[in-house]
Symmetry: C3
């Protein structure tokens, strides 16, 4: 959120500035939000925010985020407008000072400015490009939206983070492992995939777990490093909260003793320099698929994946549908954590 | 609706299990639902179901079904989320045990599982493939949804049936012919069309009319047989209710004495084996277009078509817009029957 | 709105017949509507119209119109169904008496008839073709909708007019120049653009300003004449209200003394006969881009554009973001004028 001269003053709000990665308000705020989500799931009545309006722009597909946002807003009496640029509306120019004689019909500054005139919150999904590391590290589209909006901007998965997923993850951990997550052992394991994927969800798991003081192990094959700056942030958050972050290139070792396993594919930093080579490395690591044998190394861990998942590539049917799968529960918690977040943002 | 171990228990509901073809609850339930729809149209206030949520997934285009579902839900205070896979969300894999290294990013089990976590009902439109008879006869996509959902599944037109259309048809018949439809004479006539079409609407007319005990005549050119198993079901339902089902390949004879004419094109069983031959037969039957001369054979029958209709191919403008056309009225009843159905399902 | 025999009687309504260009109800009605919009913006509570339903069909992209309509309806308790033909629903045939054996699956008469059965208002966006002047002058799609609808039709930008934009424009003028606009000096200036554009917004500015009795100057390069019949209408409206309409081909002269500048590109009448020649003329007039030098000729005028705008082609960043830009305010007023309009139409 940036206030230019031509922007109106924003409404007061229950979350500090924009929602970028979910850590903005501190560990305690996430803890409280998650407890509220669990209470809403148990039947507590959501506070109403009639007359408030949310605009949600999806530059990429969405099932869970789209439906949970819309249903959560409806439960609060809030109007949600969903927009799909390229079909519903015009393509946007993100650059400053551009002579707009090309394909993009509208500048992000104008489109977002208008949405901010009509809505109390702007929510935006904009995945990583995977070909421009600098743009992805700067979270270019989310940053452009934040710069153009006079009202809070909510990240519905950017190049770098997916905080709404993070809230549902923390809710799942607290539900199964107790409200104090300090010292609980979580393993984030890389997984195979037919396509190169962004690391936003992996980054989010990392910092969400670190902020809650968990003992985090990141397991991935060599060459699939997450961004060093984000690893550094996670280590700082963990250290502050009494936890730790470590990395291993051995999946079996990484899973040993875990209480929670989160599986996710990502293409990593070196993928930017050579996509062909990354695809070769990725194909060679097909045995990182999470199966019952892999899960047997854990301390009877719960298994998580943000979905959508490639079954029998990322994880086997038996793990996905097994007694330790928390996958569907986390997805269900997307609704209740979204409701708790927008209640806090708009009903306060 | 199938309950796997990992599924939550469903909410109680006012319709037995899923809505597949509309006959599940018996002839009396349809009769009562239709009378309620007519009362709602006359101004009765719908019972409210605040806090309930419906997810509607359209794998094919929709005008009437989409708008009537959304408007009906709004009138009940129910939230409806409309999803268009392929644009809004990811393509789904329907097969069990598949190694998902192809195009489909998400398994129907996971997508539907998630939707069932967040919604009280899942509604799905999935037309026939017209190239795989076995898959169409098994109603593959609807069946996959039912197998994956812990909440009731509502059919918004599948390969085989279109029960929401069926309710509006019965409402139209009851409005014009009286609440007791036993012995009333309905003719379902095949009609020409530039494209091969599924038989879901034709099947639905057949079983809806049969269940209400009507005297049903199916008129179609040779080679356009409906599925024998569905013809058998219709005959059983008619026999149980005191009606009958007969077939003729002579349109004039089929229309004689009819009190209701329903026109619809379908490609029929033999179309699966040879599309080119089917197109030739179809083109040769262009004189099955329903015009004033054809309607003159009836007992001053009302004319119906589910829409969309190819004017002057399926039926002439003069029939579509003539004094005996019930086409628009049936379309309008889509709203009130949808409202009555979801009221029964969610407000009870 | 046309009542055929087979159509139900429409509901009573607070606006005369359809909304085509916004002048239907007279200058006083627009004045009152705009004052109500400014009151709603200042915090007045909108009157409720629970149970009413609006169908909005977008044949072209939309950001402001789409979101303002949906948010305005939500604020009134009205249900809005948004449809995108070609993706959500079937392609429509507009011609009368056509044998529909081509691509279009549904006739506008049937589709609109159905929507009118289920909704209290039908809103439609259908831009000019730019290749068939006769069709555009007849406002073919809007006219087909009006002919097929038994309920009021609301123009969300047609080939000729954009009345919802017009209301927001008048609201902006009244807010800045006072409620009595007679004699206020407005300049509508043509602007460069990489593509040939319809003149609907330009026409709308012209007649909205003329009806309020403003002194209107239209400045455009030679060869970019607006439709003579619309110029004639504007002159008649202005004359009736005590204002005037004049044309100049010199931008500097046109801007001199203006209190409001509205910039817009359009391809004009002669573009229909030769698109290549029009593109050449358009490219040659790149210096009509509105910059600070151009604005310096005005009487410290406010600058307006309906958006989306090509920055640094139509107008420079410094004008768009400068202290005299009313662009964002007008966009924001789209919400409040839409709310005032639908309140008047549905809550009365």
């Amino acid at each position: 959120m940036t206030l230019h001269r031509w922007m109106p003053q924003p409404v007061s709000r229950g979350w500090p500035d924009d929602l970028v990665d979910g850590t903005e308000a501190g560990a305690k705020a996430v803890h409280d939000l998650v407890q509220r989500a669990l209470a809403l799931r148990a039947g507590a009545a959501p506070r109403q925010a009639h007359g408030k309006r949310v605009a949600a722009i999806f530059l990429n597909p969405s099932l869970r985020t789209r439906t949970s946002l819309c249903a959560a807003c409806h439960a609060l009496g809030v109007h949600a407008s969903v927009l799909n640029p390229g079909t519903d509306m015009w393509r946007m120019e993100m650059g400053e000072g551009v002579v707009m004689d090309g394909d993009a019909a509208e500048h992000v500054r104008d489109a977002v400015g208008v949405l901010a005139q009509m809505h109390d919150v702007i929510a935006i999904r904009a995945f990583a490009t995977l070909n421009d590391r600098k743009a992805d590290l700067a979270d270019k589209t989310l940053t452009a939206f934040r710069g153009a909006s006079a009202v809070p901007v909510v990240n519905l998965e950017s190049a770098l983070y997916h905080p709404m997923q993070g809230f549902a993850d923390v809710a799942t951990w607290q539900h199964h492992l107790g409200p104090d997550l300090r010292g609980k052992r979580l393993t984030l394991t890389w997984a195979p995939h037919p396509k190169a994927l962004p690391a936003a969800v992996a980054n989010q798991v990392l910092i969400s777990a670190a902020q809650q003081g968990m003992e985090v192990t990141v397991a991935h094959p060599e060459g699939f490093d997450l961004e060093p700056s984000i690893m550094g942030r996670a280590k700082g958050l963990a250290s502050h909260a009494g936890g730790a972050v470590r990395v291993t290139h051995n999946q079996k070792e990484g899973l040993a003793g875990a209480q929670v396993v989160v599986a996710k594919s990502w293409s990593g930093v070196s993928g930017y320099s050579d996509r062909t080579e990354e695809a070769t490395r990725r194909a060679a690591a097909a045995d990182w698929c999470v199966d019952d044998t892999a899960m047997a190394h854990t301390a009877d861990a719960g298994f998580m994946h943000c979905l959508p998942v490639r079954r029998n590539v990322v994880a086997t049917d038996s793990v996905m549908d097994g007694p330790n799968s928390w996958v569907q529960e986390t997805a269900g918690l997307r609704l209740w954590t979204a409701m708790a977040f927008f209640e806090r943002l708009l009903a306060s």
